[in-house]
C-alpha cells in the first residue's frame, strides 16, 4: 500500500516540474522588469546579470517623473481608457439586454455582426479612419482614440453582458412587468444588480483594451504631450538616451494597474469570455 502511494508520488514529479516551469516562465519577464527597474546602471551591463538588486535604491524611479513624461502619458492613457469604458458600457448594456431578452427577427444577424467585428484588422481601418478623422478634427485628439477603441471593444462587452443576462431568470422580470415597471426600470432595479460581477469584468476589459492600444495611438496622435503611455514607451525602444532602469520603471508603472486588476477579477472575466466560447 505504502509503496503504491510513493510510486504515485514519483509519477507526479514531472507534472510538478512542469507546473513550476510554466509558473516561472509566466512570472519571469515581469520580475525582470521589476529587477531592472531597481538595478543601478553600473550593475546592469555585466556578463553575469544580477538576479536581484542587492543595494536598496530608488533605481530608475529616482526623479522619474522629471526625466520622462510618464506622468503625462499615464494621465492621457487614463483619460482614453475611462472614456472608452463609459462609452462601451453605456452602449453595450442596453444592446445586451435587447439581444438577450427580446425575441425578434434578425437577432442572429446582429450576433453575427458582433462576431464579424473581431475579423476586422485594425490596420485596415486605420487608413480610412485617418482620412475621416482629419476631416472631423479628431487627429491629435484623445476623443478620437476613445471613439475607435470603443468600437473595437464594445462587441466583446456586449458578448459578456449578454451571457450574464441570459442567466438571469425571466420570471422575476415578468412579475415586475405586470406591476407596471418600464423596461428601463426593470433593467436598473432587477437586472443590473444581478449581473454586477459581469459589469465590473467588462468594464475592466474595456478599460485595459484602451490602456494597451498602440496602433491607433501611434498614427492619430502627433503631439508629444498628447501621447498615451503605449506610444510614449515605444519611443524609448532602441533609443540610447534614456537609461534602462528608468525605461523599465516607466514600463512597470504602466504594467502594474492591469496586472493588479486582472488578478483580482480574473475569475469573472474568464467566466464572461468563456460562456461565449464554451457554448460555441
Amino acid at each position: 500500500m505504502n509503496s503504491q502511494i510513493s510510486r504515485k508520488k514519483i509519477r507526479q514529479i514531472p507534472i510538478y516540474i512542469l507546473v513550476l516551469a510554466i509558473a516561472f516562465i509566466s512570472v519571469f519577464p515581469i520580475y525582470w522588469m521589476f529587477n531592472t527597474a531597481f538595478l543601478p546602471t553600473s550593475e546592469m551591463f555585466q556578463k553575469v546579470p544580477r538576479m536581484w538588486p542587492n543595494t536598496l535604491s530608488l533605481g530608475g524611479f529616482d526623479r522619474l517623473f522629471e526625466k520622462l513624461d510618464i506622468g503625462i502619458w499615464i494621465k492621457n492613457t487614463f483619460v482614453i481608457a475611462l472614456g472608452c469604458t463609459l462609452t462601451s458600457l453605456a452602449l453595450a448594456i442596453f444592446a445586451a439586454y435587447g439581444l438577450s431578452r427580446k425575441k425578434f427577427r434578425g437577432r442572429g444577424f446582429f450576433g453575427f455582426i458582433l462576431f464579424a467585428t473581431q475579423m476586422l484588422p485594425e490596420a485596415l481601418l486605420v487608413i480610412p479612419l485617418y482620412t475621416l478623422f482629419i476631416k472631423l478634427g479628431l487627429i491629435n485628439n484623445l476623443s478620437g482614440l476613445i471613439i475607435i477603441n470603443t468600437a473595437f471593444v464594445m462587441p466583446i462587452v456586449i458578448w459578456v453582458l449578454k451571457g450574464a443576462i441570459d442567466n438571469v431568470p425571466h420570471e422575476i422580470e415578468e412579475s415586475a412587468l405586470i406591476d407596471g415597471c418600464s423596461t428601463l426600470q426593470i433593467q436598473r432595479m432587477i437586472v443590473w444588480p444581478l449581473i454586477t460581477p459581469s459589469i465590473v469584468a467588462s468594464a475592466v476589459l474595456a478599460f485595459f483594451h484602451a490602456w494597451n492600444e498602440y496602433l491607433f495611438a501611434t498614427t492619430f496622435i502627433l503631439d508629444m504631450e498628447k501621447r498615451p503611455a503605449s506610444t510614449g514607451l515605444a519611443t524609448l525602444i532602441g533609443e540610447l538616451a534614456t537609461p534602462l532602469d528608468r525605461v523599465m520603471s516607466a514600463a512597470l508603472i504602466y504594467t502594474l494597474p492591469p496586472i493588479i486588476f486582472f488578478m483580482i477579477i480574473q475569475k469573472w472575466i474568464v467566466a464572461g469570455l468563456a460562456s461565449g466560447a464554451v457554448k460555441g
Binding site: A23, A123, T131, T150, T231, I237, I259, L273, V278
Partner: protein, 299 residues
C-alpha cells in the same frame, strides 16, 4: 387583460431602441470606414494630403500581386499565425489539463499565468528586447549556463531567429487566456463520464482522446479561430520588436500595410494590402465554420 395587451404592445419595438445605438455606432465607426477603405484601395492617395485621391481602378492590386515581396510577406503572415496558434493551443492545453487535475497546481498556475495575459503588449515588447539582448540579455546568459549557445545570439537581428523569437513572445502572451478558457470547458465535462470510463479500464490517454477532446471540441475550434484572427491582425509587438526586419523576415501583411501607408505615404496601396488581409481573415472564418460543421455532422 388590458394590461397584458399593453405589455405586449410596449414590447414590440423596444428591442430596436435597445440595440440601435450600439449597432449604429458600430456601423459608423467600423462599417463605414470599411467601405471607405475598399474605395480608397482603388485610388492613389497620399498620406500627406489624404483628402485628394485619384481613381486608379485595380492598379494597386495589380502592383501588389505582381510585387516580388507580396508572396514572401503572405508566407511570413501565415507561418507567424500558424506557429503562434499551435504553440498557444498546445501549451494552453497542457496547462489547462494540469489545472483541471490538481487543486494545488490550479491555485499556483491560475495566479501566475494571469501575468502574461494582463501585461500590456508594449511593456512586454520592451522587456523582451532587454531579455533577448545579445550581449547582456538574461536569455543568452541562461543558455550559456546550460551549455547551449556559447556565443552572443542576436535574437531579433538574426534573419533566421527573429521569427522564432517573435513567435515565442507571442505564445507567451496568448497561451494563458487560451488555457483559462480551455479550463472552463474542461470543467464542463461531466465527471461521471470520466469515472465510468476509468472503471471500464480506459487509459488516461484514451479518456483524453475519446471523451475529453470530443466534449470540448467546440471550444477548441472557437479558440483556434480567435487566436488565428488575432495573429493575422497583430501589429504592436511585431512592430516594436522587429519593425518587420531583419531583411523582411517578420514583415507580415499588417506591417507592410503600415509601412506603405505611414512611412511611404501610399494610403491607397496600403488600403489594398488591408483588403487582402481582411479577405484572408474572412475566408479563414468561413473555412473554420465549414470544417467544424462537417466534423459535427460526422459525430
Amino acid at each position: 387583460m388590458n394590461g397584458v395587451r399593453n405589455i405586449k404592445r410596449s414590447g414590440r419595438f423596444t428591442h430596436w431602441f435597445l440595440i440601435a445605438p450600439a449597432f449604429i455606432y458600430l456601423g459608423l465607426t467600423l462599417g463605414f470606414p470599411l467601405v471607405r477603405g475598399l474605395l480608397l484601395s482603388f485610388t492613389e492617395t497620399n498620406t500627406l494630403n489624404p483628402l485628394m485621391s485619384t481613381f486608379k481602378g485595380i492598379d494597386n492590386y495589380k502592383r501588389l500581386f505582381s510585387s516580388s515581396s507580396f508572396l514572401p510577406s503572405l508566407g511570413v503572415t501565415l507561418s507567424y499565425a500558424f506557429f503562434s496558434v499551435i504553440g498557444a493551443l498546445f501549451i494552453g492545453m497542457i496547462c489547462a489539463l494540469i489545472m483541471n487535475r490538481t487543486m494545488k497546481a490550479k491555485f499556483l498556475l491560475r495566479a501566475t499565468i494571469t501575468l502574461p495575459w494582463a501585461a500590456p503588449p508594449i511593456a512586454v515588447a520592451l522587456v523582451f528586447t532587454w531579455i533577448f539582448n545579445a550581449q547582456y540579455g538574461v536569455a543568452n546568459y541562461g543558455l550559456r549556463k546550460l551549455g547551449i549557445g556559447a556565443t552572443e545570439i542576436q535574437w531579433f537581428d538574426n534573419p533566421s531567429l527573429a521569427m522564432p523569437a517573435l513567435i515565442l513572445v507571442t505564445v507567451w502572451m496568448t497561451f494563458s487566456l487560451t488555457s483559462l478558457i480551455l479550463l472552463a470547458a474542461l470543467q464542463s465535462v461531466p465527471k461521471e463520464l470520466n469515472e465510468s470510463a476509468m472503471i471500464d479500464g480506459a487509459s488516461p490517454l484514451k479518456i483524453f482522446l475519446y471523451i475529453t477532446i470530443p466534449f470540448i471540441r467546440p471550444t477548441i475550434y472557437v479558440m483556434t479561430l480567435l487566436l488565428s484572427i488575432w495573429a493575422l491582425r497583430r501589429f504592436d509587438i511585431i512592430w516594436v520588436l522587429t519593425e518587420g526586419g531583419p531583411v523582411e523576415r517578420t514583415t507580415t501583411l499588417v506591417v507592410r500595410l503600415y509601412r506603405e501607408s505611414f512611412l511611404y505615404q501610399n494610403l491607397g496601396y496600403g488600403a489594398a494590402i488591408g483588403m487582402v488581409g481582411f479577405v484572408l481573415s474572412v475566408s479563414l472564418t468561413f473555412f473554420y465554420f465549414r470544417a467544424s460543421k462537417k466534423v459535427e455532422d460526422l459525430h
